[in-house]
Amino acid sequence: MWRDALLMAGKDLRIEARSRVAANQVAPFALIVLVLFGFALEPDRSFLTQAAPGLFWVAVLFCSLLAVQRSFAVESADSARDGLRLSGMDPAGIFLGKAGAVALELVGLEILLTFGIVVLYGTNLQGAALLLAAAATATIGLAVCGTVYGALAAGLRVRETLLPLLTLPVVAPVLLGATRAWEVALGQSADDGWRWVILLGVFAVIYLALGVLAFGALLEEA
């Protein structure tokens, strides 16, 4: 399973490195979202600073949808999915590899977006341990959940519109938990931020287990 996961992640990351879709399209999209939030909300910097955690994670959420859609689009083109099925690879390995590649792409985008909120919204980064723990668990949660629903939608003609419809309501806990944890880390709330990290961790574990168990069936049905 782990060998297949590494092989799959390597293949997806190599495709991304060659096509540069995340670098040339998703990253600019993420920055544009941050700028548009700035325009739409008050140009008053203190308000943007307060709203930065939520805006950051909404932008990450949108980017995760694009990354997942791209991850499955390459398997739909030219029936590459048939090749995967015929390879006899462990479906759990395929799932972990695809989710891992999406997660790594999201990490890159989150680093870029972090610079974005510092520069555009004047966010003062602090509470590094909580920030990183929340980001890590939320990223894994978004990647594994997105990969499960990406596989579910992959075989359908309306997959482009169906994926956000399926995914966005389900990942609401990730948006909530990551935003609250970051608010605490950035000193905007006196709540216990680690409780939110635990929620994010539980979400990630549930979808990780679901993906490992169900991905084979999803791949067959797609």
Binding site: L7, I15, V74, D78, G83, G88, M89
Partner: protein
Amino acid sequence: MAAAIRFRSAVALIGDFPVLAGVDLDVASGEIVLLRGPNGAGKTSLLRACAGLLPVSSGRAEVLGHDMVADRRSVRRQVGLLGHATSLYDDLTVEDNVRFAVRAAGGRRDTVTPSLERLGLAGRLGRVRVGQLSAGQRRRVALSILVARDPALWLLDEPHAGLDAAHRDVVDGLVQEAAARGKTVVFASHEQDRAVALTRRIVEMAGGHIIAAVEPTIGPASPPATISQPLPEPIHVA
């Protein structure tokens, strides 16, 4: 000789439509069998059912000793399917595609380069992205994967399609060599003269049924053709 494929009253559905409507077929190990019939006869569906990509919903189906009704996944690593689509990644190079497919199927890495050379894909062409290749070149990449994997059962759907004459000869050679090594080959082709010359048994299909199994009226082809010098490769820019 042991049966590589044994279907009895096998039915496969796409939605409610029976694309295989009670197929009875026996193919022995090492045999080359041509599936022939009009469009929609069920040739592609039969090949996909043999590969475990199309579920057999009733009847009996065994491929390489695996019960395809109970578990159609376990046989896949022993089967190679060249379908209408080539199952390649446009953004990866020719070499990357072949290497990934071989490693994914648990094959040996040292088979990659010889297979690329056999299909005239080594060198500069091997470093070209598949998305920049012509349809015929893509087909050769898919064939190269099949050669590198060297599965026990070769399932070929229109293997000559899109290829020039020289590479059609190479395909014929590969099929004959595979059979000589004890591999089983089942293929569908509208290239009647070539296809009939390759096989000793023709299975006629219509409407999801096998309607006849006949022997070809002309003998097998002359010894396998190979290309000793790779052809100059114009790179088609899509």
